[in-house]
């Protein structure tokens, strides 16, 4: 039975607001290892309930359990840990650089590192991501040079994007990373188009689209699902549910639905939920979905359940809208610590080596940063030219832009 309501508009509210006690008792977390792993050619109708559960591999004791475990070797996991640690160190330094005025803006990944780092491993060279601004792990885990990321962030003379883009709006075709748009959602449907093109060419490369929980409300999300399901596009559609959209809790975008993954059910898509703070689970689910796409079985919708520990961006202060300690209470823990503990349990890692590795990772980030700063920061040192501003609007500069460039004297 549903409550009737009279008197005013129903507006969903989060369980707690600043001043209150964080409470995640409403977030149902199944035990690790309990969710089945169907074959990739499963009939989507037979796994509808997976949209309401959470696939988890790492249990509380740091063990990998259940049918989704076992996709990665020790070495691969160690590398994965390093990726996440690097991303975290990178974030820390760039966050500070922004505070120091070396750039205008930054967005960090704290708490969500596993999602992009582990998914990247499930992809192959030639595949293409259509990321949002919170998947730099795709670049780090893909071996894209940190110094190039920093050059972009600093909009300096070595910025591969020539100073044109807001910091962190990276682009690297070579690394399968489509140019990030500042407009939410738009790229979700482009990923589907890219995948349709691959199918048109009988190619076996696949695409992955990325979107945040809040952004699923955008129109592009719907268009992506319509086109992906109609044409069985070889694409993985990733929803990163980090519980917040700036100050707005996920309940506003989710509305009356049980989960974001459930949005895929109305399109006949296999729709999975996964523990986004569990590197192993993310990888296993990513691999499953990538395989489906690559085999020509069509699109999969995946919801990564995670938590945005930091502020939305350097322009945001979350203490205004959620309890400061909320992240400490997040029931899925910290992805770095969980993978570290797993590797220790596995006997492949130790607290000591972790400490040492942390220092090494930070060193490598600092080295990259020094290198980048040689090329300048936003307001000091080398910078892209004003001439660059006029280039590249079109392949060939049309007369009116030539006139304007001339007028600008550059």
């Amino acid at each position: 039975m549903v409550e009737t309501r009279k008197g005013g508009l129903f507006v969903p509210e989060p369980e707690v607001r600043p001043g209150g006690q964080p409470d995640f008792s409403n977030v149902k977390i199944p035990r690790a290892g309990t969710v089945e792993r169907p074959p990739v050619d499963v009939d989507p109708r037979d796994i509808r309930d997976m949209a309401y559960s959470i696939i988890r591999v790492l249990n509380r004791d740091g063990e990998a359990v259940g049918p989704w475990a076992g996709t990665l070797s020790d070495d691969e996991l160690l590398e994965g840990l390093k990726h996440m640690m690097t991303l975290r160190a990178f974030d820390a330094r760039m966050q500070t650089a922004q505070r120091q005025g070396k750039t205008s803006f930054y967005m960090q990944h704290m708490g969500e590192e596993a999602v992009s780092c582990a998914f990247r491993r499930a992809m192959e060279p030639g595949d293409m991501n259509f990321p949002t601004y919170r998947q730099a792990g795709l670049l780090i885990a893909g071996g894209y040079p940190m110094v190039d990321m920093m050059n972009q962030i600093y909009s300096n003379e070595a910025d591969p994007l020539k100073g044109r883009q807001l910091p962190i709006m990276y682009s690297s075709k070579e690394h399968g990373f489509f140019s990030i748009s500042g407009n939410l959602g738009t790229q979700f449907v482009q990923a589907v188009g890219w995948a349709m093109a691959s199918a048109i060419k009988s190619d076996d490369r696949i695409a992955a689209g990325w979107i945040g929980d809040g952004s699923t409300a955008e129109s592009d999300f719907h268009a992506a699902l319509v086109f992906a399901s109609t044409y069985r596009a070889p694409v993985v559609l990733n929803i990163v549910n980090n519980q917040w959209a700036i100050s707005t809790f996920q309940g506003i975008a989710r509305g009356g639905s049980g989960t974001f993954a459930a949005r895929g059910l109305g399109f006949g898509l296999p729709s999975l939920r996964v523990d986004g703070n569990d590197y192993l689970a993310v990888h296993a689910v990513g691999k499953w979905a990538v395989e489906r796409a690559r085999m020509g079985l069509g699109a999969t919708l995946v919801e990564y359940v995670t938590y945005r520990v930091g502020a939305h961006s350097t322009s945001d202060d979350p203490s205004a809208y959620r309890p400061k300690t909320e992240s400490d209470n997040w029931p899925l823990g910290d992805p770095v610590i969980r993978l570290k503990n797993h590797l220790i349990t596995r006997g492949a890692w130790s607290e000591e080596r972790h400490k040492q590795s942390e220092a090494e990772v930070m060193d490598s980030v600092i080295v990259a940063q020094k290198e980048a700063e040689k090329h300048g920061t936003l307001h000091a040192g080398g910078r892209p030219s004003a001439r660059d501003m006029f280039e590249g609007v079109y392949a060939e500069m049309p007369p009116h832009l030539r006139r304007q460039r001339q007028q600008a004297g550059v």
Binding site: M128, F130, P160, L161, K162, R164, Q165, M169, S171, S172, K173, F178, S179, S181, N183, T186, Q187, V189, Q190, A191, V192, G193, W194, A195, M196, A197, S198, A199, I200, K201, A207, S219, D220, H222, A223, A224, V226, F227, T230, G392, V393, Y394, A395, P398, P399, H400
Partner: protein
């Protein structure tokens, strides 16, 4: 040279392009099996298969959004929006994405797509089958905007657009699909088969983007027009006996400013015409450029004749349409100024 209607010329341009380049794909609402509500894509699915020409769900956003993704992959999608009046759901994808992908990725990704759409009134289509939204695209850096006025140009310009490395908005004045409409709605219509611009070369032929053409030489006044209004302008010159030079712009962005300036410097007077609503229409840009570049040659204020600043009405279609009488009146005013 075979005589073609504008519809046939447009279809032929896609056919030729698809034949030459496997990367050209065509899709849109009712575009596949049926061949488009205006029949512009008839036969292409049979010829090139469902992977190259297919029906799309009714989502202009999805059509343009997936086309952008395909272009990033390396294809050259040429998509149809059923009526220009229905392009707005795709506006964000066009403005925020297609237009800026090359720039923001420093050329790593590009967006060679063509978005075709029928524009303009004259078919009693009311407010949702009559609009001319060109100014909403000319303001957006990164887009090219093309408006053919006849079958010959339609084919050559569309092939150029498909081969262009950047996104092109291709506006097809639907009142011209079957014949050169000059705004004399009460007179019998001539089909393209009776018009020399209905002569369309077979196979591969291009008309360069960014080049205007003089449709009528004259010394008294310059009329700047595109699409349907080219024919209206010619009729107005005829009707008034004023020796107007009629320039068919063909491409609005990039614009052939040299041709415009040369003509206005010669005639000293200028009338700008378009069917879209007046305020902030593309005519305003033309007037601005003319007065900037020809100020000392102008003997009269540049006049604009355009759709009134109202939605396009149904019953009052001919009161709304800027026909030869209104253009003629503007010519007289400019000549007498």
């Amino acid at each position: 040279m075979p005589r073609m209607t504008m519809i046939e010329a447009i279809r032929d341009a896609m056919d030729v392009s698809m034949g030459r380049d496997d990367n050209v794909v065509v899709f849109g609402e009712d575009v596949g099996y049926f061949g488009g509500v205006f029949r512009c894509t008839a036969g292409l699915q049979q010829k090139y298969g469902t992977s190259r020409c297919f029906d799309a769900p009714i989502s202009e956003l999805g059509i343009v959004g997936t086309a952008i993704g395909m272009a990033a992959y390396g294809l050259r999608p040429c998509v149809e929006v059923q009526f220009a009046d229905y392009v707005y759901p795709a506006y964000d994808q066009i403005v925020s994405e297609a237009a800026r992908i090359r720039y923001r990725s420093a050329g790593q990704f590009t967006c060679p797509i063509v978005i075709r759409m029928p524009t303009g009134g004259g078919i009693f289509g009311g407010q949702t089958h009559s609009q001319s939204p060109e100014a909403l695209f000319t303001h957006v850096s990164g887009l090219k905007v093309v408006v053919p006025s006849n079958p010959q140009d339609a084919k050559g310009l569309l092939i150029s657009a498909i081969e262009d490395p950047d996104p092109v908005i291709f506006l097809e004045p639907k009142r011209l699909y079957n014949g050169p409409f000059d705004g004399h709605h009460d007179r019998p219509v001539t089909p393209w088969s009776k018009h020399e611009l209905g002569d369309v070369a077979a196979d591969h032929v291009t008309v360069p983007l960014g080049k205007a053409v003089t449709r009528r030489e004259g010394s008294a006044v310059t009329i700047l027009a595109y699409g349907t209004m080219v024919h209206v302008a010619l009729a107005a010159a005829e009707d008034t006996g004023i020796d107007a030079e009629v320039i068919d712009l063909r491409t609005l962005v990039p614009l052939d400013l040299d041709a415009i300036v040369a003509s206005v410097k010669k005639t000293g007077r200028c009338v700008v015409v378009h069917e879209a609503t007046m305020t902030s229409g593309f005519g305003a840009e033309l007037v601005s450029l003319v007065q900037e570049h020809c100020f000392y040659h102008l003997e009269a204020p540049v006049a604009r004749v355009a759709g009134w600043d109202t939605p396009y009405p149904h019953a009052q279609e001919w009161d709304y349409f800027p026909g030869p009488a209104r253009v003629g009146e503007a010519l007289r005013v400019v000549m007498e100024a």
